[in-house]
């Protein structure tokens, strides 16, 4: 507990996202608006799924432990599906927004592309998801207490922070993949995103066996990262040139 745990977990969970925000989003007002709107859409999806879960719980016997756990699992799955549905709705909204921006612009092209919007939307979803998972834990971490004194895992805060970080990254990549699938009408990409999300959430069901949840999630994140990178126009050659800081005299390294 205390400040060390608080700051440590905060920066593990939100550090990369903060970096992404500061370096790629904070300078452009349009992107900030898209980010906050993405957070809002995620929030609405959470609201609806909690409503469904709440109704289900109220209609059932509160004493029945396995039933309650089953309802919770159902709630999680339903929430994942609803989140992806709202990602699709957000895609539709952003498409309309791009059409509007194009119509109003002087030179006929939008100040922001759908790929950039996909990235920012993903970060928005991820940040809100991470914040809702993590903030109450962080507030508790500031106060007194001993983690796991009743026999639970002592790594609760740490693993929560790592899980939050991986979820933020995953949402970012899923945003890119999902929007790309919607743009090019590749339904299998969209299905892959949904299946990945279900898999990651499903893997958390074996918590506190953290090996079962963190390892697959990070592997999936690496896969999603590579896929999103390739879809965004990256290639192994680009990566190699970036790492070696080469400038070939052609265009510099692509920056979003």
């Amino acid at each position: 507990m205390t400040l060390a745990v608080f700051f440590g977990c905060t920066f593990i969970a939100f550090g990369p996202a903060l970096g992404l925000f500061l370096f790629t989003i904070a300078h452009d007002p349009l992107r900030i608006i898209i980010l906050i709107a993405g957070a809002f859409f995620w929030l609405v999806s959470l609201l609806l799924s909690s409503l469904i879960w709440f109704i289900a719980v109220k209609a059932s016997n509160p004493q029945d432990e396995p039933l309650q756990k089953g309802l919770l699992i159902f709630g999680v799955m339903f929430s994942v599906l609803l989140q992806e549905a709202f990602r699709f709705l957000y895609y539709k909204l952003l498409r309309k927004a791009i059409e509007g921006l194009v119509a109003l612009s002087e030179d006929g092209c939008s100040p922001i592309s759908i790929q950039q919007m996909a990235y920012v939307a993903g970060v928005g979803f991820g940040l809100m998801s991470g914040a809702f998972s993590m903030i109450n834990l962080l507030a508790d971490a500031l106060g007194p207490g001993i983690v796991g004194i009743h026999g639970d895992s002592q790594l609760y805060f740490l693993t929560s922070a790592f899980m939050t970080m991986v979820l933020i990254f995953l949402h970012t990549f899923w945003g890119i993949l999902f929007f790309h699938g919607c743009e090019h009408r590749r339904w299998w990409e969209i299905m892959a995103v949904v299946v990945m999300h279900l898999a990651v959430s499903g893997s958390t069901f074996c918590n506190p066996l953290y090996v079962g949840s963190l390892v697959p999630s990070y592997l999936l994140m690496a896969a999603a990262a590579a896929w999103a990178y390739l879809l965004s126009g990256g290639s192994a050659q680009n990566l190699w040139r970036f790492l070696l800081c080469l400038r070939s005299g052609a265009s510099p390294q692509p920056r979003s």
């Binding site: 608006i33 909690s50 879960w53 002087e106 809702f132």
Partner: protein, 468 residues
């Protein structure tokens, strides 16, 4: 897209509060007018023949299609940047309020209620509590309505000195007394030993610099910081002295009242604005948070043609050059209202007080509606009342919600999205729109939904360490 909503910060005790609340409603309307005004003016940049103040609808038909598109594009681009210019101060104000609520227990401790909410909520039955809170909200809103009407009457009969003096007293109270209390409570919370002499020095400096920055001249950032601080102080007072159900009811009713007062033809705010238009005066330029100083730019852009435009335009123009005074005056209770009256007096009977030369010079110049050639340089303005009520909502959410930080975060995002939507609607309809209703509605919906529905769900998830 320049949104100006001028609202006076409701002053605490006695009539000042109702008067202040009244001013805030009036300002809302004026803001909308000014927003409309802005759009009209922008269109005029492209099409000088078209706009008159206050009737952009007629002009819309006259505007050339291309101009309108260009305008809309300018508006949209203008809008994104200025939405952010509003997001930042609103966020800062909320952060200050939430940080104070979380650390200083004084503002969550129940120490009585305002005289405007005389009915207690510590009752035996739920029905009685509901009734009491409805009565409290009704009393508060009637006080606000009465004060708005009183303000309209005062304005109509040109009792400017009364309003001016009252605003000065209110700002003095806010900057000295409330900040003294706040400082005292912070010291108590952190157990800091402090002597009266040091405190007196600190409060004196804080207050005097605040009065100077807000009513006269000062660095822009400092003035903005002072406005945010006094909005936060006011919001904290409301959070402390309004009981729970009453607070939520008042928020809801104020949004409805705002909507009605700005959009209905017979609303007091609308009447106030129309009177201001007839007299070719600006309304309450000071109770606004302004993001830029466009003083010098305006001096350079005088368009005689604008003088022939409807009075509101020129009113707005005079206001734009008077942004300086606006900034100076932008203080909770005083609000450029006093400055504006000063300007009016200066216009009619010559400078009585020591007004800045530039102000008098600008007044003498032909008024135009062109506030700025470069829309990027035009600042955004938001009324202090908006700041206060947004912060009250988020502060109450952080003080009393069982969901705690989740609820606070949800309300925060909801309010920001509401603000964004309001500005978007403004860009689309180019009509006067109040800033409160959408944000407060979203905030209330998300507060109750998150607190009652999402919190149990997230609790269970955290307990099992499931992730969605």
């Amino acid at each position: 897209m320049s949104e100006e909503s001028e609202e006076s910060v409701p002053l605490l005790p006695l009539q000042q509060e109702s008067m202040a609340s009244a001013l805030f409603n009036t300002d809302q309307n004026d803001n909308s007018e000014r927003r409309r005004h802005d759009n009209s003016e922008r269109r005029r940049n492209d099409n000088p023949e078209s706009e008159t103040n206050g009737q952009p609808q007629n002009n819309i038909q006259q505007v050339v299609e291309q101009d309108e598109e260009e305008d809309e594009e300018l508006t949209l681009k203008y809008g994104a940047k200025h939405v952010i210019m509003l997001f930042v101060p609103v966020t800062l104000c909320m952060v200050v309020v939430v940080a104070t609520i979380k650390s200083v227990s004084f503002y969550t401790r129940k120490d009585g209620q305002l005289i405007y909410t005389p009915f207690t909520e510590e009752t035996e039955t739920v029905g009685q509590r509901a009734l009491n809170s409805i009565l409290n909200a009704a009393i508060m809103i009637s006080v606000i309505i009465v004060m708005t009407i009183l303000l309209v009457v005062l304005y109509k009969y040109r009792c400017y000195k009364v309003i001016h003096g009252w605003l000065i007293i209110s700002s003095l109270l806010l900057l000295f007394f409330f900040s003294f209390i706040y400082l005292g409570e912070v010291f108590k919370t952190y157990n800091v030993a402090m002597d009266y002499i040091t405190v007196a020095l600190m409060i004196w400096n804080f207050g005097v610099v605040g009065m100077i920055c807000i009513h006269w001249k000062g660095p822009l950032r400092l003035q903005q910081a002072y406005l945010i601080m006094i909005s936060a102080l006011m919001a904290l007072v409301f959070i402390k002295y309004l009981p729970e159900w009453t607070a939520w009811l008042i928020l809801a009713v104020i949004s409805v009242y705002d909507l009605v007062a700005v959009l209905c033809p017979k609303g007091p705010l609308r009447m106030l604005v129309e009177t201001a238009q007839e007299r070719n005066e600006t309304l309450f330029p000071a109770l606004i948070y302004s993001s830029t100083m466009i003083w010098l730019v305006n001096m350079a852009e005088e368009d005689p043609e604008a003088q022939r435009k409807a009075s509101k335009n020129s009113t707005y123009d005079k206001q734009a050059p008077a942004n300086q005074t606006q900034n100076e005056d932008a203080e909770a209770d005083d609000g450029g209202f006093s400055q504006e009256w000063q300007q009016q007096r200066d216009n009619r009977i010559g400078p009585i007080e020591s007004t800045p030369e530039s102000r008098a010079a600008v007044q003498a110049l032909p008024s135009n509606s062109q506030t700025s050639e470069d829309p990027e340089e035009r600042g955004v303005k938001l009324g202090l009342g908006d700041f206060i009520f947004y912060s009250v909502l988020v502060g109450k959410a952080s003080a009393t919600a069982s969901g705690d930080w989740n609820t606070t975060l949800a309300c925060f995002v909801a309010i920001l999205i509401g603000l964004c939507l309001t500005l978007l609607l403004l860009a689309i309809f180019k009509k006067a729109l109040p800033a409160l209703p959408i944000s407060i509605t979203f905030g209330l919906v998300f507060y109750f939904a998150t607190d009652n529905l999402v919190q149990p769900f997230m609790d269970q998830l955290a307990f099992h360490q499931f992730y969605i």
